[in-house]
Symmetry: C2
């Protein structure tokens, strides 16, 4: 914007057909046709720029600073006059007209980083669910150290059958299968090791695959990685399959965010690009690889120490992981390619663990109720309970399950990533610096707050937003439509040049990055819509089943929150129904918890198939009452406040 | 030999380090280091030269004519003075000293050709055994045409599960598995074909693999190839899996013959060469491919029409097929790498059928009792009989099985390929021109004879040798030690330059190739040894079980004979024990028959595993009595002629 390059050639058509763009601070260059958007160039260069709308110019997340060179594009309402003067543009709308140097600010780079997930955080510590008995601890992949009897004239079994015989005694499995390459290595291996080897086995339904055989005793080290593939966040837990414990966790934003904040935008992208599907398979696999690499480095592991990946995630993300065409997911009648895929060789998916290792996918239920929900049912044990329970999983989509061991029914509503901290001005994941709890004394003064990792605040995560909305509502700073009351005389309330109101939670001098942490009017609207979609979905399901909340023994809330979720505040804003607080429990990330359970127990993996098979799916998009319920719920807590008697009392209505 | 090349450079060390050898009539050239044997050069050039001893200069099978150039090597006793004068050398002993042109005579080229096996021949028509009931006709690989219900909002199964659901109803199978590449193709395929597809499935024990899905209805065409991998002969039958019938057969000599006539020589070769095993895997696969190609061409099939190969053969040949190191097979305690390998992708073995097709191996029992014998038991049904039966399989090895549905025991003896027509002067397989039956009026006059295909004789096959030996013995032309009586005044008896006697069966003007068809003294000794080994093995087994032949209800003779085997003559020469002729039955090639049975019926394939698992193997090489029995049996019919009372009567002893 500020500099024009080589103005010596006046004829437009004589300008070079391609331009070079250098991205800083990555120092990555790329050559693209002149006129390419900076966002497209960044994708080509493998440089991450945040983008929620997938390039439609409507999210304003992809702001970058053009330090050198000329771009073309309409001015964006997302940029202030100062920003425009400083050279900021939206990467999705700025077309390169010359060679460029583009700086990507920290705020537009959030997804590249891999962070250690807070090990004390409730969302990562789901070990309470893990199998404790030796009987139940029968992982999908196992290692058995066996000392074979050397062959004699009397005992002249072949090498393979000798190994299978010993493994059968050690494992209790009976029908084995083995790849030709491993069989071919057997004779030398067995004789060189004095018939003492460790065999890795993997459950393939009724068969057991001997995936590898290695010299000596390596059975004590057997690890797997459980993965929760969210639309916005990818989480990986390193699991010790011998001890049955979680060793560590890592998380990152999905590398697909630049292509769109919701799965439908990504599906549209994939459908529009010739190699879109392969590109997305690769992006998904690379996210998983980055997390695995982080865990390997942190715990000093070799690539061969990790025998399997067990993945849960929504249906579209599972399709991306496997490279399955997701296009029918978004079109009536909304069907995917495969909901219960067989175990697959990790190498075939580009996931770098033991070269012979497998990827197990938990099964999906429908296009919009994925393996994450099956994992959630598995982790919470709804499928084994006598009485009715409800699971509400709040992610980019909100999914609801109601049921017991007799039957189960589920539905899904598009909530958006607001509660995942990804669509709001100062939203962030529940990592260090995220405000996860807050109490206001009055409009001007905070009573208390906390951040993940007890550091200076740098943003707000899901549970922080729930608290903040509840406090603002309680103090009348926002009304029941969500409007910020700018009439209040309070230094925290301000109005931007464009007329939009903001509530400043932390001033620049109180934060870790020296910038304000605030809640803008549009953030409130996003959060209101998210909570409305989730509440509406649960109402529709209840109506279809002719149930009321009193019939439900327990409501479990899972999902993308921080250390905890203030249940009363979640009820106050109408995210959760108004039932006694004792009936509601926050259960953390049940997707990763269920994946870990399946990983550690074949029986649980089998149960996951059963859960998927027995679940009835309720399609909300074709239910004419859904929009009514959604509109009614687009108030704090609800248009019909009679449904929230305790909130009425607290708000003094 | 006759021509010296460029004698202008007297210093030996200035001669070029490599020489070029051109083979005719193939017109294939190869460059090799000077001093390389012609046999080694031919192998390198991919030109077949017959060789039984594997290059030790002791079989004399590899004679070739050096038409141009100079070779070095000691004169061979296998060549007549005339032959040496004409330029004949043994390819294994002649070292190239200059560029050469080498002509390979027809007699040294037998193994390159693929022949249509006589479809009327007993050894290829084992269809009597094949399953007839629809219940039993449940092939290892199947094709199912299914018309799926298109998805609706109410019926929203994913594509994979929709297909599996339909297949489960069509096939009765329940647990499916499918490769990622096929899953990825599903959405487009199903929608383009209007949800009408044919799924190929393959049995993998408790699992069913959906190997491929193709548009429309192709279920009516489902073929497999059953293969008998013999040491000397490879036979393939094309099987219609829908009708449960054999369509055609083809056979060829093994391409491994140049490396040695028996498996131990080949194992030694493989162990001595860096890439020996890969070379042998390739040779084996290529033999199978050549036969499949012949059958494809003959019946105008596409490569995709053949869904599976089911292979039986001896243990070493099965190892070669799979590329498994056979070295421990020949060393005490004689154990192979794998006797019951899992089904393998044909492409992985270099076998060209449907790219997604599988190779199933029937199980082996021990190092020297292979899948061919398991197939034999399966085909003859010994494992289901109430009373004791015996199976004698006469190939390059002779294997004996005794047993019933209660128990089974087996042994193996190295017989050599004499009865397969491969080690004798005029021996040949039971293909057109092979004398398979003969009666002599007296020394001078044939009473009757027949040839396969009713053509002019060109050689003698196994059953022809049995008849010929019996007639010569009956007429006193050979004595009980096998010595040809040269005192008899008969134009058919002649003595070669080297003092070896021969009996001329057909004179050059009576034969199809214008050369004498004769039986040489050394041929008789080979045949005598072969029959002695087989008889001795059966005796040892009987002794170990404390049984006598009267306890055996039926003796079945299988193996490499022609249209038929004259049982009385086989008893006369002591190949078979002297029991009433009604108790002995010639059953043809039961290895291919069993492979076909397994191919057509999963239940039979499962039974094959059971047979291999329940069979007790008796190791003859460590039984001190075996050599005694062998020596005693090295007479016609036996040293102890009391064991052959009917023969005593016929010979007038």
């Amino acid at each position: 914007m500020k500099n024009e390059e080589k103005p010596t050639k006046p004829q437009a058509d004589e300008r070079p057909a391609t331009v070079n763009i250098l991205f800083s601070p990555d120092s990555v260059g790329v050559e693209v046709p002149r006129g390419t958007t900076i966002l497209a160039a960044a994708r080509k260069a493998g440089v991450f720029i945040n983008s929620l709308c997938g390039g439609d110019g409507i999210c304003g997340k992809c702001r970058v600073n053009v330090r050198l060179g000329k771009v073309r594009g309409r001015p964006s309402e997302f940029l202030t006059r100062d920003e425009i003067r400083e050279g900021y543009v939206l990467a999705c709308e700025a077309h390169a007209e010359s060679d460029l140097v583009v700086e990507i600010p920290e705020t537009s780079r959030i997804i590249g980083e891999v962070r250690e997930a807070d090990p004390t955080s409730a969302r990562f510590s789901a070990d309470g669910h893990l199998p404790r008995s030796a009987e139940e601890l029968k992982p999908l992949v196992r290692k058995h150290y066996v000392e074979l009897d050397p062959p004699t004239i009397e005992n002249n079994m072949a090498d393979l059958e000798r190994l299978e015989f010993a493994l059968s005694r050690a494992s209790g499995d009976s029908e084995f299968q083995m790849g030709l390459k491993v069989i071919r290595r057997l004779p030398e291996l067995l004789r060189e090791t004095g018939w003492k080897v460790t065999a890795s086995t993997a459950c393939r339904g009724a068969l057991t695959e001997i995936t590898d055989v290695k010299p000596g005793n390596t059975a004590r080290k057997n690890l797997a990685v459980a993965v929760d593939l969210g639309t916005t966040t990818v989480v990986a837990h390193l699991v010790d399959l011998v001890a049955g414990q979680t060793i560590g966790a890592a998380a990152k934003y999905s590398a697909q965010i630049p292509y769109g904040g919701d799965v439908v935008r990504r599906i549209l992208y994939v459908a529009s690009e010739p190699d879109g599907l392969a590109e997305f398979q690769d992006l998904t696999a690379r996210d998983v690889c980055m997390l695995i690499q982080e865990l390997q480095d942190r715990y000093r592991l070799g690539i061969g120490d990790i025998s399997a990946v067990v993945a849960a995630g929504n249906t579209t993300m599972m399709h991306f992981l496997l490279g399955l065409d997701p296009n029918e997911i978004r079109r009536e009648p909304y069907v995917g390619v495969a909901y219960s895929p067989p175990p697959l060789r990790a190498a075939e998916l580009g996931i770098k663990i033991d070269p012979r290792g497998l990827v197990y996918c938990l099964p999906c239920i429908s296009s919009f109720v994925g393996a994450d929900i099956v994992a959630g049912v598995l982790a919470t044990g709804i499928h084994r309970r006598e009485n009715l329970s409800m699971l509400i999983d709040i992610g980019t989509n909100g999914e609801i399950v109601i049921g017991s061991r007799e039957w189960m029914m589920c539905a899904s509503a598009s909530a958006g990533p607001a509660f995942e901290g990804s669509e709001s001005s100062c939203g962030m994941r529940a990592t260090a610096g995220a405000m996860d709890h807050v109490r206001l004394a009055d409009c001007e003064n905070l009573l208390s707050f906390s951040t993940v990792g007890d550091t200076e605040p740098t943003g707000i995560c899901g549970s922080g937003y729930v608290d903040l909305l509840a406090e603002l509502l309680r103090l009348g700073i926002i009304d029941r439509t969500g409007r910020l009351n700018t009439e209040i005389d309070c230094s925290r309330i301000r109005v931007r040049d464009d007329g939009v109101a903001e509530f400043v939670v932390f001033r620049a001098d109180e934060t870790g990055h020296g910038k304000d942490v605030f809640l803008a009017q549009e953030d409130i609207i996003n959060l209101l819509r998210a909570k409305a979609a989730i509440y509406a979905a649960s109402r529709i399901l209840m109506n279809q089943l002719a149930l009321d909340y009193e019939h439900i023994e327990e409501i479990m809330v899972a999902g993308a929150f921080g250390n905890y979720l203030d249940i009363e505040n979640a009820v106050l804003i109408g995210l959760l129904p108004d039932v006694p607080a004792t009936k509601i429990r926050f259960v953390g990330n049940t997707s990763i918890a269920g994946a870990k359970l399946a990983c550690l127990s074949r029986e649980r993996f089998r149960q996951a198939q059963e859960i998927a098979g027995n679940m009835t799916y309720c399609e909300l998009s074709t239910d004419p009452k859904f929009m009514d319920e959604f509109v009614s719920a687009s108030f704090f807590p609800h248009t019909d406040i009679e449904r929230f008697p305790s909130v009425m009392a607290r708000l003094g209505k």
